[in-house]
Symmetry: C2
């Protein structure tokens, strides 16, 4: 597989977004966050998304104008953003920057963001804050989409609703990015396109049976994605999914009640500074201690030692920075498509 230079890839995407009408800073941040997704190995939520973002910019479904962002500052630590469908990575990064500033004085900062365009890979935002010994927290839902059914029900109501949090540590920081459902919409679509079954029964068929067949999601009656905890403990995943719904859409004041359509996101962004609570040193000591205990836990399968959240992703990232970034064929194809019609044709590895 060809390996790509992450910096060149970032520059290429930035140029494409600028040519697509985005402001320079919006283009730069969006390009960086998308490449970060691939660096961490989340190829469904990395540069593959650029083509769709560009199409939405061209169609007026996404904005690249930072002037569209409307900020209501309700206190020194709290703000409401109306994103007016600006590219999501720019909005989330702005929110993180603002929360970070508030946290430096108050220990915490929080932004509720409505009407964002898609926000890409949540894990891709965490590292710079974690390296500054801060705790970034990002929750999101998409009020225009319903793919998960409430526990005990058959009809889809809400989205996988991921939660991402970065935990500073000296030896091994933790990058957590998990949905409150068993799998995501992207995983279902990918398995279906490849004609694969899923590794686990993560779909609830329209008749209420667990299934590993992605086609069951698209059948008649339609299936749904099972909440985390599945048939036995899915009431917990359902409750956590509703928590994310409430802290994103309900808190922002814009959600399913407004029947939005198109690619969008409701987002909660928070930054917590441990130095305003029990202290940064004690925080790092405790993270290191617990991480070591986890890694010392005898593996159930001797071939597979315990892995901490983000450990594999950070290893992939280091490898990609050292040796170039390998991109799956579907990502390469999507980037090729994105480059067509731009000034870059003939100057990139993608055509």
């Amino acid at each position: 597989m060809t390996r790509h230079d992450p910096i060149a890839l970032r520059e290429m995407l930035k140029t494409l977004f600028v040519e697509g009408g985005a402001d320079t800073e919006v283009a730069e941040v969006t390009a960086r966050v998308l490449v970060e997704g691939d660096l961490l190995g989340h190829h469904t939520h990395g540069t593959k998304l650029a083509n769709g973002y560009l199409k939405d910019l061209a169609a007026g479904h996404a904005s690249g104008d930072p002037g569209d962002l409307e900020i209501t500052q309700t206190s020194a630590v709290a703000a409401l953003y109306d994103g007016h469908y600006l590219l999501g990575p720019y909005l989330v990064q702005r929110a993180l920057d603002q929360c970070r500033e508030a946290a430096a004085t108050f220990g915490i900062g929080m932004v509720s963001l409505k009407r964002s365009h898609h926000i890409a890979c949540l894990a891709g935002y965490l590292q710079p804050l974690v390296e500054a010994n801060l705790i970034p927290l990002i929750l999101t839902s998409d009020p225009a989409v319903a793919s998960v059914a409430p526990f005990g029900g058959l009809d889809r109501v809400y989205t996988p609703n991921p939660l991402a949090i970065g935990i500073p540590g000296r030896e091994q920081p933790l990058l957590i990015d998990v949905s409150m459902s068993t799998i995501t919409n992207g995983t279902v679509a990918k398995a279906r396109a490849a004609g694969d079954t899923l590794p686990h029964p993560a779909i609830l068929t329209g008749h209420g049976q667990a299934s590993d067949d992605p086609e069951a999601y698209f059948a008649e009656p339609p299936g749904s994605i099972l909440p985390l905890g599945e048939l036995a403990f899915g009431h917990k995943g359902f409750a956590l999914g509703l928590m994310v719904e409430a802290l994103t859409s309900a808190l922002s004041g814009f959600g399913r009640k407004d029947s939005p359509d198109g690619w969008g996101a409701s987002v909660m962004v928070m930054v917590i500074d441990p130095s305003k609570f029990g202290g940064a040193e004690a925080f790092l000591d405790e993270t290191d201690h617990v991480a070591r205990q986890c890694q010392a836990s005898r593996p159930a399968d001797t071939e597979r030692p315990v892995r901490l959240p983000g450990q594999a992703a950070l290893a992939r990232r280091r490898d990609a920075l050292d040796h170039g970034l390998a991109l799956p064929q579907d990502v390469v194809d999507s980037l090729r498509d994105a480059v067509q019609g731009s000034s870059l044709v003939g100057t990139t590895p993608f055509g």
Copy 2:
């Protein structure tokens, strides 16, 4: 089953705690929170705990003196509490009151609490805040106990690590109280004592197999409680468990690295005010809308319609307030034990 008057029960417990050496307000709050646990149907985390609290007060393992609470106020919205093992319900209620006050001005308030004594039923704190259209959030871990193994590992490292959050709604507020593991330590102990198998395989045996036998937890080599998501998606429950560890123990600066013993808790308390974000009315509209959609989802089992988090508990609470509180025999036995040796002997339904 005899039904008890919740108010009389609260008064009885208050007297017992005062006779046990607790300050009047500490006794009152603790009694109220314990009865609230039973009202919501969480009998393992209700008044059954009183006897153990009283024993710890007598032995000096718990404090009933509010003067023991040490508050470090680091900003207008953030504080660190060192509880010095004061009875947990008093500490959590103090933290909630302080967060509520901060949230009224700033939209959010946050307290990190270390060295609390046991904090009882998390759901029992939520309702008064939810009824004021606020979002209370409580996370806790016990750094003195290890019962859950990291995903892929066999050795126990951390606790079930529950998260509770209240979501205001006009028609049906949501009371969420879920652990990041499949089941809690209490459920394992209860099934074992009754000689029952568990309803689902929630134990990982010391050989790495999922099991519904509570004895597998106590066997040699010892078992552990599976994280939420179990064998297929347990990496998510593991990540969420580590999140709660970090936001409780690590953030408070006191945790497993300090090798504590005895009944204790690290706690994070937060209150968010929707009126400082997208507005209370819009929040309530969205909660109602999503709740209605969930309840309209066709049930997989026609006998069992979709239930929202807290719906059954709130129905139980209403019934208990109207018709008296039914207590299981093990709770009655424990209360009888607690009453022995007090001035109340012969004046209560418990002896």
